[in-house]
């Protein structure tokens, strides 16, 4: 066992960069293919069938519009959430009264799936973009607030004292000391937010069918077009992986100075 005796190299696990995850993808696809062939039911197409259906979905005008709509809503919701949540979280982290004020209500909202608010919000705001974007916004704010809060809380008091001694105002201290110091934790929250945004996007579209990837997914399910169903699963899954990888790049660039944890993403943390 590697925990037992150390040969002194101090490294654990081999990571062959991007090679291993690609291999894992391939392995999963192969397992799927074999499983589907063994099951031999219409409702579970083989991996190859699904893959063949992917270009059909992506390249059809309808499919492309739907997917772009989804991404657009997600981006807007994410952006708005980031702008609102980070400052709020930071202030909560440094001002105990603010934290005490917001914490309980946030804890009450947390277990409620924001996509579940869709039916009610749909009644108020209709089935258009606004309701779905709002729900994504709500879903993403929570983890970012929480992580900004934790990150700001953990900033060393002495760093802040140094800033105050240099004559910085509270706002300056927030922007120039607390924010950068808490950035690793904030970015972990953003990563979680990204995952939640994706999920909320898909589920909100599953509930309020008008446009979007979730819409295609469930329409296809209703109509028995199983190839399309699985093709959309692949598309959404790929979207998640690509966005997460891109975000990781960004994160590493921004916080190259800090000692980050191992590279496995923490979803929902």
């Amino acid at each position: 066992m590697s925990a037992v005796a150390d040969d002194g190299s101090g490294r654990r696990g081999l990571s062959a960069g991007a090679f291993a995850p690609l291999l894992a993808c391939l392995g999963l696809l192969v397992a799927w293919q074999i499983g589907a062939m063994l099951l031999a039911t219409d409702s579970i197409p083989t991996a190859l069938d699904a893959l063949r259906a992917v270009p059909d979905v992506l390249l059809s005008r309808d499919g492309l519009i739907n997917i772009l709509d989804s991404i657009r809503r997600m981006v807007i919701g994410l952006a708005a959430a980031v702008v609102v949540s980070i400052p709020l979280g930071l202030v909560m982290g440094r001002a105990r009264a603010v934290a005490a004020f917001f914490n309980p209500i946030l804890m009450v909202i947390y277990p409620v799936p924001k996509a579940a608010l869709m039916p009610i919000i749909m009644l108020w705001l209709g089935v258009g973009d606004l309701s779905k974007t709002l729900v994504i916004f709500l879903a993403v704010t929570l983890p970012i607030i929480y992580h900004s809060f934790e990150g700001a809380k953990a900033v060393e008091e002495k760093m802040i004292w140094s800033g105050a001694a240099m004559g910085m105002s509270r706002a300056q201290i927030m922007a120039r000391i607390v924010l950068p110091a808490a950035l690793p934790e904030i970015l972990a929250g953003c990563r979680t937010g990204l995952v939640l945004a994706l999920i909320t996007m898909v589920t909100s579209e599953m509930i309020a069918r008008k446009s979007g990837a979730g819409n295609i997914l469930f329409n296809a399910l209703d109509m028995g077009q199983y190839d399309t169903v699985f093709a959309m699963i692949i598309v959404v899954g790929a979207l998640g992986i690509v966005l997460d990888a891109a975000f990781d790049r960004l994160r590493r660039f921004l916080v190259a100075w800090s000692e980050t944890r191992q590279d496995i993403p923490l979803s929902f943390s």
Partner: protein, 254 residues
């Protein structure tokens, strides 16, 4: 110390009261029709009524069942795989890339596949809950197990612990704080996911109740399941918090 605690509690209740008051005001002053936004009194009365009704309780029971079973599976698998990957290079090499690929995929997108594979009843929802709650638990276990103090293991080995015992005698207890944090996250996710799955396609459960009420435009009935899942989440969180206090009584606060 006590003064600040009661001040904190007071501060925390304020927004809840404010929102309640705002809610009531909106309804009373007619800014929104009662069909769109029922008054808080009506909602909570309905909630109280439902909570003693057999029908509601059996629906809630179905949700709870799926939640618990799915969460339990996620806990067992997550901790098991996480620990193995942390101590065994071979397992690590296989698990890491798989997690890297699967973790960012919104498992709810797989839900249609699960429905087709496992049917529309409990199994598909339990599977979805397990799939979603698995990763945070696995990751925290892995993180906790790989960051334990090496010298703890050495001390245990020198004291006569056999290599195969190290995993459950040292690594597991030492990683417990991290594991429990992952479990808390996994629990919240389980609440969220089970509700969503029931909303998307189910014939019973709290999520189903929400969709049913929506279809028949019973706004009051729509609020009830939402508040229920929130209360459920809070209650379960509370239980986990107590468990954490007991299990981690020897650990310094982090």
């Amino acid at each position: 110390m006590r003064a600040t605690l009661s001040r904190d509690i007071a501060l925390g209740i304020v927004p809840i009261i404010l929102i309640g008051a705002l809610w009531q005001a909106i309804v009373v002053f007619g800014y929104a029709p009662p069909s769109l936004l029922p008054p808080p009194g009506a909602v909570f009365t309905r909630l109280a009524q439902q909570l003693v009704g057999i029908d509601f309780l059996s629906q809630a029971g179905a949700t709870l069942l799926r939640l618990f079973v799915g969460f339990a599976i996620a806990v067992v698998l997550g901790i098991g795989i996480g620990l193995m990957a942390a101590v065994h290079r071979g397992v690590d090499a296989v698990v890491r890339p798989l997690v890297r690929v699967l973790a960012p995929v919104p498992k709810v997108a797989l839900y249609p596949a699960l429905l087709l594979l496992l049917g529309f009843d409990h199994a598909s929802k339990i599977a979805l809950v397990a799939a979603d709650a698995l990763f945070p638990i696995l990751l925290s276990t892995y993180y906790g197990a790989t960051t334990i103090e090496q010298k703890l293991v050495w001390s245990a080995l020198a004291a006569g612990t056999l290599p195969h015992q190290v995993l459950y005698k040292v690594v597991l207890p030492a990683a417990l704080p991290s594991i429990l944090t992952g479990c808390r996250i996994g629990l919240v996710i389980s609440c969220i996911v089970v509700f969503l799955a029931e909303m998307i396609s189910s014939t019973d459960g709290l999520g189903y109740l929400l969709v049913r009420a929506a279809r028949s435009f019973q706004t009051v009935d729509m609020f009830v399941p939402l508040i229920s899942i929130s209360l459920l989440g809070l209650a379960l969180n509370g239980v986990l918090y107590c468990a954490r206090k007991v299990l981690l009584r020897g650990f310094p606060e982090v």
